[in-house]
């Protein structure tokens, strides 16, 4: 038998049995949501180096890196736990419309759950014990900080461009960020908690999310509807 004939025949057999349109992702995603997790969970961290006036290097790591949306270690579990928690259901005014895992830090997840009427709660999930430990209703970001977040969003060129195209600013919610401060001189680090603002920006039925570093006075990340970070121009 000629090699090319065999090659062609095998390709035909395979193509007939397994068409190009085959998509395993829904099944894989479901299996992951059922609890399959990395054997060596590593919290995704992104590091930013800050230099203070005192020449102290601050190395900040948090879990808002590339994988801040569903899919971070434990995020699928967190989303499911938040979605099915009776306290969350009771705090909302209608059926759940959207569940977003904002971050996962040291096996503690922050999940934003919204209902169809626009109300939302911020849910804290303990992934070690697989329980919801806290449900915060309504915006808890102080008015002054909200104004600060709005100011940042209006001046950042990425979000300003969206606003110029007719985008509207929706919910503004607080988000806890775990930061690791590293003293370059001593090599010692300490973990500190910071509160940032999460600003939802809607345009044409799609939604962007800006993560505003309130201390730094800047948008740390602007994430597009596909979950990709929007780079600075």
């Amino acid at each position: 038998m000629h090699d090319h004939a065999l090659r062609g025949t095998l390709s035909s057999i395979a193509a007939e049995a397994v068409p190009e349109t085959t998509d395993l992702w829904p099944d894989i995603r479901r299996r992951l949501a059922d609890g399959v997790q990395p054997t060596r969970p590593s919290l995704p961290r992104r590091r930013v180096v800050l230099v203070t006036a005192a020449a102290l290097f601050l190395m900040v790591g948090w879990t808002l890196g590339g994988g801040w949306l569903p899919g971070q270690s434990g995020s699928a579990q967190a989303a499911e736990l938040a979605r099915h928690d009776p306290t969350v259901a009771a705090a909302l005014h209608g059926d759940i419309a959207d569940v977003t895992v904002a971050n996962v830090v040291d096996q503690v997840a922050t999940v934003v759950v919204r209902d169809g009427t626009g109300h939302q709660v911020t849910v804290t999930v303990d992934l070690v014990h697989q329980i919801v430990t806290r449900v915060d209703t309504g915006p808890v970001l102080a008015a002054g900080l909200q104004a600060q977040a709005l100011s940042v969003v209006r001046t950042d060129p990425r979000s300003a461009e969206l606003l110029a195209r007719g985008a509207t600013i929706g919910h503004i919610t607080p988000i806890s960020v775990q930061a690791e401060k590293l003293d370059a001189a001593t090599g010692k680090s300490t973990m500190v908690a910071e509160t940032w603002a999460q600003v939802f920006i809607a345009l044409g039925g799609a939604e962007w999310v800006a993560y505003v570093d309130l201390n730094g006075g800047k948008i740390d990340q602007l994430v597009d509807p596909q979950g990709n970070q929007v780079p600075l121009p």
Binding site: L6, S12, A17, L32, P38, G66, V104
Partner: protein, 183 residues
């Protein structure tokens, strides 16, 4: 491939979107390879799904500078071989059943008829089914995936001499079913 590297980086960072991208890139090739070896579409999908989940679980061990495709497809091919080995008894019965129905090429037929039969997908399918899984896998990797001996050896994690022997044995068997044709 840049998209592959980006997907790996995303996955290593904990972004499951990276896995989705890898699935999109490699799922069809992986399922087809597993299918040709296992001869079972459903099993091939299971094998591929499990391989992707295993890759997700072990992504920390993966060298980001390496190519994901060969690493992943090696896992799929080996899993398919193992799956066939586990079900060998059933496969043998199937083969005997097909042979009993004379669905394989008839060695007594003339050369033209044999080639016509052999190049028919159903006949090739039947002949593949008669090969042991290890020989079938090298035929699939050589003629479907287009790999060299060395690449097959690396893919299956066996010595090159073993690959060459399996190819030789597989071709010999297939030739025995096509007596009038040489490779």
């Amino acid at each position: 491939m840049e998209s592959e590297r980006i997907a790996i980086a995303r996955l290593k960072a904990g972004d499951i979107g990276g896995l989705a991208a890898l699935v999109e890139l490699f799922q069809v090739q992986a399922i087809r390879t597993a299918y040709l070896i296992s001869r079972d579409r459903s099993l091939a999908e299971d094998i591929t799904q499990a391989a992707f989940i295993r890759a997700y679980q072990r992504i920390d061990q993966f060298d980001a500078d390496a190519s994901f495709g060969p690493w992943f497809l090696r896992s799929v091919a080996n899993d398919a071989i193992k799956a066939v080995e586990r079900g060998r008894r059933t496969s043998s019965l199937d083969i005997e059943d097909h042979a009993a129905r004379n669905e394989i090429p008839d060695p007594a037929a003339g050369p033209a008829a044999i080639l016509e039969q052999a190049e028919d997908a159903a006949a090739v399918w039947e002949m593949l089914g008669r090969l042991p899984a290890e020989q079938r896998s090298v035929i699939v990797l050589r003629y479907f995936s287009g790999l060299t001996d060395a690449e097959i050896a690396q893919r299956l994690d066996v010595p090159g001499a073993t690959v060459r022997w399996r190819l030789f044995a597989a071709r010999k068997r297939m030739r025995s079913w096509l007596p009038a044709r040489a490779d």
